[in-house]
């Protein structure tokens, strides 16, 4: 039989030499899957990769952009959305995609998140939620579940956790969805819709961190955690009929918002004299 060499479909977008070849993510980590979901979504939409900018910040998820072999901006912890807003305002023809971890999105970057949603700036924010800060060794974040064991909550987490989809929905995001790495097709579809949405789009993807959150909470290896994610998932429609108590240990998945509203850059540009003139014409 003839040997067939199969190349991973994402390889043509992958930049070697960006640390820990092939990547610095641990075995079983979900971030690589989401890296693939993103390029797959872009490819299915037939986007010109030279017109797509990946923006990241710090931490394991922040490094996703460094493996993208086209335009990228590896920025500061919590701040990708600010930089992304600047890029988009300066050149509206670019597609700007940010990958951010849960801590980056909701703790240090919380204000950038709600302001971006409020403005409805045409940027895609993909939040990789693995319930802890992985790069620094597994400390709790605003999405760590109550009781979750981390390096800074050794007796179990004592703070309530954030529902980030609820947060950005309230702040005005025009596309909001949550899936898990156990739902690859749904995740890819959500990223596609997020890219196509003319406004602020937020896709939360729950991901396994077997090295830290999984190990600290005895949840098993990557595949075991993915299985757990599937078991814990409840569709948004089903969730509507469930009590708060019933939803306690569940991950509500699905599309929460898909609507239209004037986009930030378009609004700003409408104040320019040339736009006013063309409006009159």
């Amino acid at each position: 039989m003839e040997a067939v060499q199969v190349k991973h479909p994402a390889l043509k977008y992958y930049q070697l030499g960006s640390g820990g070849d092939p990547t610095l993510w641990c075995s079983g980590c979900g971030i690589g899957q989401i890296w693939y979901f993103t390029v797959k979504a872009m490819e299915e939409l037939e986007l010109d990769p030279d017109k797509v900018v990946w923006v990241g910040g710090s931490g394991c998820t922040g490094r996703m952009c460094t493996y993208w072999n086209h335009d990228l901006m590896h920025t500061l912890h919590g701040r990708p959305l600010g930089f992304a807003t600047g890029i988009k305002l300066a050149n509206p023809e670019l597609t700007v995609v940010c990958h951010m971890g849960d801590g980056e999105t909701s703790a240090i970057g919380g204000n950038h998140l709600i302001q971006s949603a409020r403005r409805n700036v045409d940027v895609v924010a993909i939040c990789v939620n693995n319930f802890n800060y992985g790069m620094t060794g597994g400390q709790f974040s605003p999405t760590t579940p109550l009781g979750g064991i981390t390096k800074t909550s050794p007796e179990g987490h004592r703070e309530r956790s954030f529902d980030l989809c609820d947060l950005v929905k309230a702040a005005g995001a025009t596309y909001v969805a949550r899936w898990t790495t156990t739902h690859p097709q749904k995740s890819i579809k959500a990223i596609k819709k997020a890219i196509q949405n003319k406004g602020f789009s937020f896709v939360e993807i729950v991901a396994q961190c077997p090295t830290h959150y999984g190990r600290n909470n005895r949840l098993g290896d990557g595949p075991a955690m993915m299985k757990l994610q599937k078991e814990m998932s409840v569709r948004v429609g089903q969730a509507a009929d469930m009590s708060r108590e019933e939803l306690k240990d569940k991950i509500v998945i699905g599309e929460f918002v898909s609507t239209q509203s004037p986009e930030y850059g378009e609004i700003l540009r409408s104040f320019r004299p040339e736009s006013k003139e063309s409006d009159n014409a």
């Binding site: 460094t66 901006m73 590896h74 600047g86 305002l89 300066a90 204000n111 950038h112």
Partner: protein
Amino acid sequence: MEKRLLTGIHLWQGNEACAEGALAAGLTLFAGYPITPATEISERLSARLPATGGTFVQGADELDSLTIVIGAVWGGAQAMTATSGNGICLMQENIGYACITETPMVVVDCQRAGPATGAATKTMQGDFYTVRYGSNADYAIIALSPSSPQEMFDLTIEAFNLSEQYRVPTFVMPDEAVAHMRERVVVPEHVELFPRCKPTVPPDQFVPWRANPETMVPEMAHFGERYRMPVPGLTHDESGRPSASYKVHSAMVRRLVDKVESRADQIARYEALFLDDAEIVVVAYGSVARSAERAVRDLRDEGVKVGFLRLITLWPFPDALIRRAVGRARKVVVAEMSVGKLVREVERALAGAAVVKLFSKPGISLHTPREILSFVREVA
């Protein structure tokens, strides 16, 4: 569409002149957070930028504002922010990022009395080191300090040009008195602009972070121009890939500093009077220099052999200029609105070649010409 360059004679406030200088330099995006005494820059640009085809953003805070400015530059904009006091502190993380990514941009810091909220509406020259050393680790920046509304216009243009030439964040740092001063400003018919260092080779030959050996500055591709531009906040090699090797790190950090610091003489802007036979030299900048000049002229009328040096470029600190200006003078008076910052650099540059005396007032109350005159007379 309104004109960017309002050629003619105007009665402008320093901050208005700064906004107009930025427009004359090709500003296309401004993002800033309201803060006294810098707010008039935002207010003017909120009307003038959209009217000239640009984008005005009021950020959610100083972090939001500066991230938008830096992102916009990489998207192809000519961008600026303006702030003061607490705001310049909040911006420091992003300033470090702009330095490592060699992002040309202008930051206006209208200095006000502090620390913390301090006396928000009052003047001080307290940010002398804040703009130079406020962010973590080693880097270099350029800072210019105007002492009149005319210079708020001229030096804002100059700041854009220097930021492009050296690919470094450049500060315009008036004190509040200059920011809010109203004077005649002459706008010329034409201004010279330094173009952005764009790639001179096709994408397949482009090495994004390889510096020109002469200028020590790399060429810059914007996003979307098919140059596959990596903009890294991590220590990086010439390809832009992350590295933690000593060799790569050392080369990068030294170049970031040397491309500016080794050109201190070329970047030095200043004004000098009566230095040839001076036995005592008064050094000042900003609004203090206006009083100092008056005092020096009056002392000359009295026959005192006093010279005057007004620093316009504060960073890179012009060591050689200070040594040349002081020459054989035995004494130097540094007048500044701080408990003593500029004086430390003057002492360092002179390394004991002259006796340096500080006339310090830590803000709110301006140095009057009479006070400086009395101080110099006592020292002489």
